[in-house]
Amino acid sequence: MEIIYKLDLAIGVVSLAALIFLVGWGTPLIIAPLDDYETLDGNVLFSIENADGLLIDDNIDFTTPVEYVVEDGLSISLEPGKYYWKAVGIFGSEVRTLTIKSKVSLELQKVDEGYDVVNSGNVRLNVDVYNGSKLVGVRSLDVGESLDVEGTKFVGGAE
């Protein structure tokens, strides 16, 4: 009788261990980026194993996710904002968040009679152009766009 109980226990333990191992084996392994990752760089490198797809959404319910095929060195370009992401394979992974921080940045260079103002940040800008203390114009600048303009002061803020 004792042998039977020992065999009961052995089969139960082995079965449970095998199931735990299988679930672990089939669950995507997320290496990078870490949860709550924050960066100014819009290009995010993902490192994931045991997964077929990567879902990214700005909504935790994943109602309108963008799906990417997982591959080595998967780098995704994202606009500033907070994102929820998870890997999907045989099983789904945990949901992680990442934030691309918004950045206002201006570069200025003298060109002929005026100035070349470049939006070197990652958000669309409104640039107030002053000549002395007088506001002479407000211009919109896309990311990477430059503006050839005359003025003595340029103030850039998010649109």
Binding site: L7, G89, S120, K153
Partner: protein, 390 residues
């Protein structure tokens, strides 16, 4: 003060940044909050900075320092401002702006190039809830091809004091002649106060290719929001179908006939094909364009290009064929296999990408087999072998 500072001139190229561009806060009576931000020394130089506040919330904001300096070795420097909100504000959006301006480090009397002043702004947005229930929303439509699903998304923000218990949308679709071609109701959702949720609806586009207009009424507990958006079924796209080459002889001028299909429901005019042939280092060894053609809606047109193959060697060349029309272009990467009397084009009509689902399928099979084995071993033991041993 900002205006006075604007009169200063500084030397050398300017570069200045700030992050975040905006901080958003939900209003609470008497809220005290410290908000941090970073000034980015994008030009990697010594800078003297002045910080100032303006906007309707200026009286409730104070910055940690009115002026400071950043050395060339500092990539960024952290600052903060404190927000002390009053007990009440009008419902809606209230804004404040924190300016950071670079001051001149020297007068620039050495004759160097003189530049103007730069300033960057980090914004503070404070949302004050509306009394009762209040929703704000927009409609986003994702285009699709004919017969596929067009996705309608309504991000709904509950900006009132109370939760929205029922939010749904009724949508009518109109064609170019303003005839209603379809209508549907979305599912219903609840949105807690201060939160954002999405209504998503997939509509099967069993309608002809073309432009459409969606008119939606977003209905929530105590109000309605009318929204309108245009979208397309099919895409304004020219697709390269095939390339035929007659009587190819290396060293002579080859005539390439490229069959192009217009998948759009309107005429696409002024389209042409640009072909770039590259060597194994990726350098362009030959480039040529076709004449311009007008392609009738939903029809095909042959574009003729001529390639002078003088000096071209036998071999395989990576080739980029771009159909250009208006501001758009459609690109295909092909291989030109050039022989003395033959030109073979590889890549059109072939599936080049490999099937990469194999590993995943193997995992599933292994998992299923192991689980089935475990179940069998358990059944065998508990219902057969165990009883026999007893």
């Amino acid at each position: 003060m900002i205006f006075v500072m604007g009169l200063f001139l500084i030397s050398s190229v300017c570069a200045l940044g700030i992050t975040p561009a905006r901080t958003t806060v939900d209003f609470k009576p008497g809220l005290n909050k410290e908000v941090s931000f970073e000034v980015l020394n994008s030009g990697n130089k010594d800078m003297n900075l002045v910080l100032a506040v303006q906007g309707e919330l200026a009286q409730y904001i104070s910055v940690s320092a009115a002026s400071d300096s950043v050395s060339s070795s500092e990539v960024s420097k952290s600052f903060s401002y404190s927000v002390n909100l009053p007990d009440s504000l009008e419902p809606g959006l209230h804004t404040g702006e924190i300016f950071v301006m670079e001051l001149p480090s020297s007068a620039g009397a050495d004759g160097t190039q003189v530049l103007a002043t730069l300033a960057v702004v980090t914004q503070l947005y404070v949302y004050v809830p509306y009394p009762g229930k209040f929703a704000s929303s927009k409609m986003i439509v994702y285009n699709a091809n004919q017969g596929e699903d067009v996705t309608f998304v309504f991000p709904v923000v509950s900006r009132g004091e109370f939760d929205l218990t029922s939010v749904k949308a009724n949508v009518d679709i109109y064609n170019k002649l303003n005839e209603k071609v379809a209508s549907f109701n979305t599912n219903e959702i609840a949105v807690p106060s201060g939160e954002k949720k999405e209504i998503v609806y997939k509509w099967k586009a069993d309608v002809p290719i073309g432009n459409y207009r969606a008119a939606a009424s977003l209905i929530y507990d105590e109000g309605t929001i009318n929204l309108e958006e245009t979208f397309s079924i099919g895409s304004k796209e020219l697709e390269l179908q095939e390339i035929s080459v007659g009587g190819f002889s290396l060293g002579e001028i080859a005539k390439l006939e490229m069959l192009v299909e217009n998948k759009w429901s309107e005429l696409i005019s002024g389209a042409y094909v640009e072909t770039k042939i590259m060597n194994d280092r990726g350098d362009i060894v030959s480039s040529f364009e076709s004449a311009s053609y007008d392609v009738e809606p939903l029809s095909k047109q042959v574009f003729v290009s001529y390639w002078d193959t003088a000096g071209v060697r036998v071999g395989t060349y990576e080739t980029e064929v771009s159909i250009k029309y208006g501001d758009a272009s459609s690109v295909k990467n092909l291989k030109f296999q050039v022989e003395k009397n033959d030109l073979t084009i590889v890549g059109l009509g072939y599936v080049i990408s490999a099937d990469d689902d194999g590993e995943s399928n193997t995992l599933v099979i292994v998992l299923v087999v192991v689980v089935v084995l475990l179940v069998l071993v358990n059944l065998l033991w508990f219902f057969l072998l165990r009883k026999k041993l007893k």
